[in-house]
Symmetry: C2
Subunit: 99 residues, 2 copies
DNA sequence: TTTATAGGCAACCATTAGGTTGCATATGCC
DNA sequence: GGCATATGCAACCTAATGGTTGCCTATAAA
């Protein structure tokens, strides 16, 4: 999942979808210096990573952000942060104890 | 930076450093199925991404997590989450208004 | 029923990434 | 000094990535 977010183009796509709306491939690709196919591939990666969901409407394929996935990434980073805090707390306690 | 976190091996390394401690390359590589050089390369990527910091002690190179970088990643995800929440709030308000 | 629009599929390409091996260097310890 | 340990540097290899182009299918709109 982090690998999926790791590509600048995909990070851009995610930003464009951050408002929770659903957009077509062509729409999402507007302004990007790459072909529609390239955009489609990126969306595929995001889809496989569970970061977006796809729905078909007529001849259009619309993509929307999968909020839950973003949440998971946040949780992981929170865990690392928490572990760090805990270690820092222990270290501080140890120092004060020995003081 | 997300690209740096995106590799499983590097995610592992970060986890090993999550307690805030500093470790040598060899130590960090213990248990991993790859060569020391590969580990060193990964640490280099993390270093360039600002996720870890390096300090030399004698013949050892010790790496420690750069807390601030983790924080930045969290912030970004928070922003996307907040944007989402805001959009959801507006949508809800709109629906209730039209109701 | 044409014609234009939105995608899907597949083959192909160049670059990058993750790994490896071999060799050189620097520091610790006898 | 002499040997072991901890890295650093560089060349090389293979597979995955990010992109492209060409062509085919499906749905809108004239």
């Amino acid at each position: 999942m982090f690998a999926a977010i790791g590509d600048p183009t995909r990070l851009d796509l995610i930003t464009r979808l951050a408002d929770g709306g659903a957009r077509s491939i062509t729409t999402l690709g507007e302004g990007l210096p790459i072909s529609r196919q390239a955009v489609a591939k990126h969306l595929d990666v995001l889809l496989n990573a569970g970061l977006v969901q796809r729905s078909h409407t007529g001849r259009e394929a619309r993509f929307a952000l999968q909020r839950q996935a973003i949440e998971e990434a946040r949780l992981w980073l929170d865990e690392v942060g928490a572990q760090w805090d805990e270690a820092l707390r222990r270290m501080k306690a140890f120092v004060e104890d020995g003081d």
